[in-house]
Point group: C2
Chain length 482, copies 2
Amino acid sequence: MDQRNFTMLCDFYELTMANGYFKKGMQNDIAYFDVFFRQVPDGGGFAIAAGLEQVVHYIRSLRFTEEDISYLKGKGIFDEAFLSYLRGFRFTGDIWAVPEGTPVFPGEPILIVRAPAIEAQFIETYVLLALNHQSLIATKANRIVRAAEGRAIAEFGSRRAQGAEGAVLGARAAFIGGCAGTACTMTDRDYGVPATGTMAHSWVQMFDSEYEAFKAYCELYPHSATLLVDTYNVLESGVPNAIRAFQEVLLPQGITDCGIRLDSGDITYLSKKARKMLDEAGLPNCKIVASNSLDEFIIRDLILQGAKIDLFGVGERLITAKSDPVFGGVYKLAAKEGNDGTILPKIKISENAGKVTTPHFKKVYRLSEKETGKAIADLICVHDEVVDETKPLEIFDPNFTWKRKTLSDFMARELLKPIFKGGELVYDLPDIQSIKDYCRAEVDALWDEVKRFENPHTYYVDLSQKLWDIKQGLLSAEKHKA
Amino acid sequence: MDQRNFTMLCDFYELTMANGYFKKGMQNDIAYFDVFFRQVPDGGGFAIAAGLEQVVHYIRSLRFTEEDISYLKGKGIFDEAFLSYLRGFRFTGDIWAVPEGTPVFPGEPILIVRAPAIEAQFIETYVLLALNHQSLIATKANRIVRAAEGRAIAEFGSRRAQGAEGAVLGARAAFIGGCAGTACTMTDRDYGVPATGTMAHSWVQMFDSEYEAFKAYCELYPHSATLLVDTYNVLESGVPNAIRAFQEVLLPQGITDCGIRLDSGDITYLSKKARKMLDEAGLPNCKIVASNSLDEFIIRDLILQGAKIDLFGVGERLITAKSDPVFGGVYKLAAKEGNDGTILPKIKISENAGKVTTPHFKKVYRLSEKETGKAIADLICVHDEVVDETKPLEIFDPNFTWKRKTLSDFMARELLKPIFKGGELVYDLPDIQSIKDYCRAEVDALWDEVKRFENPHTYYVDLSQKLWDIKQGLLSAEKHKA
């Protein structure tokens, strides 16, 4: 597993601000920051949180090397005392976060940091980068997996990823979102995501004929022979040669599990024709794999049109989340502590109403129906509030406060788990298969209306009355100040 | 500099094919592969090649560790003899490539590999990943830089990048494409791209008032104070407080170079108003920096509307190339060598005419006008052809062969440079500033028509008569076979 030191992967202003806090004697002021996002990519109804494991590795390996210190010294703007302080710099604060694989919604904190100001500010860049990247890909993968209606999705995009980690951790996130495996060998070695693959066109071209290439592959891998049939002509050459190789090499050994891959042309038409040819040749167990610039929309259309595909290989449009390649998580100050430990909520106002932050040290409950287990709403509260499941609970829309609803027979579950306490890891990182299973169960607990690709139902993310009142109070006060 | 071993960052099929070539005794068959791309992102007229330095590091550190071997052994499909072979696996072949920063066009090889089949095939995934990622970002950065018409562009996108390398090497590629600097500290430390930055909203919020936050920052960094003025209200609070801090802290020291940053709201309106306020306050040297979801289109519009911006900070839309986030470089077999060393050209045909490959071991000339230095066309030839600048040269469109043109007074320059010879590096990697300067000069040598954002003139990429004849011959032969 990659345990590189990413301390220096920070925006330069994190360092100039840190130096500033240090010189102003503010380095031990306790600050609270929230990570949240404002919009679900692709206009979807929810996102899948991912990347926490990398945040944990980052926090634990946070330290400046002597090389870093001398690089910073060379900039000529940092104090000697500050540089000395950086030599011993560690993260000593607290972090809460939603587990990887959790469906999450705009406006709610998915990670909260409470730490001395320099530490809390400094980790901003990498924490956002890790969560934004993997949440983006897990969310996209989940859309694609849902479009495939039970057919397997393999992640095939390493060569088009945005950098090595785009490939390796993108494949990890894709697995969390529901993919069955990846082509990326390193992700298998390092994260246990099953690696899979077929062959390249060049394999076929390296032999004197397509048939010889196929026969050689079946002899080499009789139990996992998936033949790429579009190097010359799918129906006139590829499929007939594949059938001949299967019949000559596999069937005599009693092997009927095999596959062909279509990588160009009209997949619906070709898959139907190929299916018929394979069935007639006594190869009903031969699977048909399709690849070639697929995404959730194309897969949905292929299935609607009756394409005979058993497994989809999805490359560039998954590994880059091509249709909407940015997950816009932000890192915003939510509170400070006074010298007496009082929590002082902080708000960031904006001309754009959607950019006003929700202040204070918070917690988030997911409220579900007792009978169906389905999620009803998320409720953001002040940290010291407790929701009592045994009593009716009135929730309301924070923008249209006359829209109110009283819940009974509900379950309330806190979404944010303690990850670090006083700088120590207090969370058992789950294995990747558990994360994937949890994600699937949590997505199953959402109503279908929230899962639509277009115009999904907006899931309710409400504020408690106490938090709403505090936010309104700060808004009035800030407006008054300005 | 990152010298990680990315050997295992390969599609799993590279390993199954490698094992296959080994068992079939084909591992020493010499193969030629080309890297080329089919479409310029965003419909542009050209791309900027980048990522070669990372390919060089990859090739030089290519080796399987014992951990890798035992992981592969655990898969149960690889031969013991093959695993032993992998222990000593190194790249022993030849590589030619266009230097980083070169403008490149669809269909022409930007990197050529000649090596024993296993080696040539195996490096596919990482070579494509490195070139695709950085060429994507360098190309996007170059568009944004050109849109800014001489104003500086700073890369600000780490937090929204697709993984750590998306941030770090993306910032490197952005610099090659013309950006002035980056917010990413690691890219400065490791690649010498100047790091720059201002402050976050949280800096302002951590102080009791905006004015105190600004004053503190000016005291700390009198020579590089750029103040973020939109935490509360730009024109009523931010700019007046910034002016007060500049007047109280900087002007008495005789410092007039400073800056403000606008990160929300209508940048055109706010920048004009702010410029007027700053000028009236005796701060004509105060620069105005704008950020907030910018790209080449928004920057062009801001300038057209007379926005008073001196420097643009560009984040997510640059670091992910948001409007078209995939660079579709492919890796295709172009030839094999017979046992006698004869080069046997190979073609990949396709129903889709655009996907037919150009066979053979090739070279590429860039042809330019002697008088203006402007590029006229690129000419792809067979490796043993030599263009003689002293004689007239007839070139023709490979699709519409009646479109012909005879050149005289031209210069011909080979684009592909030898990088590895027999596994040894034979290329001096240029420093990053030289790459950037070269890129700028080469883009200057393109006609403006090729640089339009919409419907650019299609630059000519022609085949020599000899290569065209070979391609047609193979096409007929393959069609005949099928």
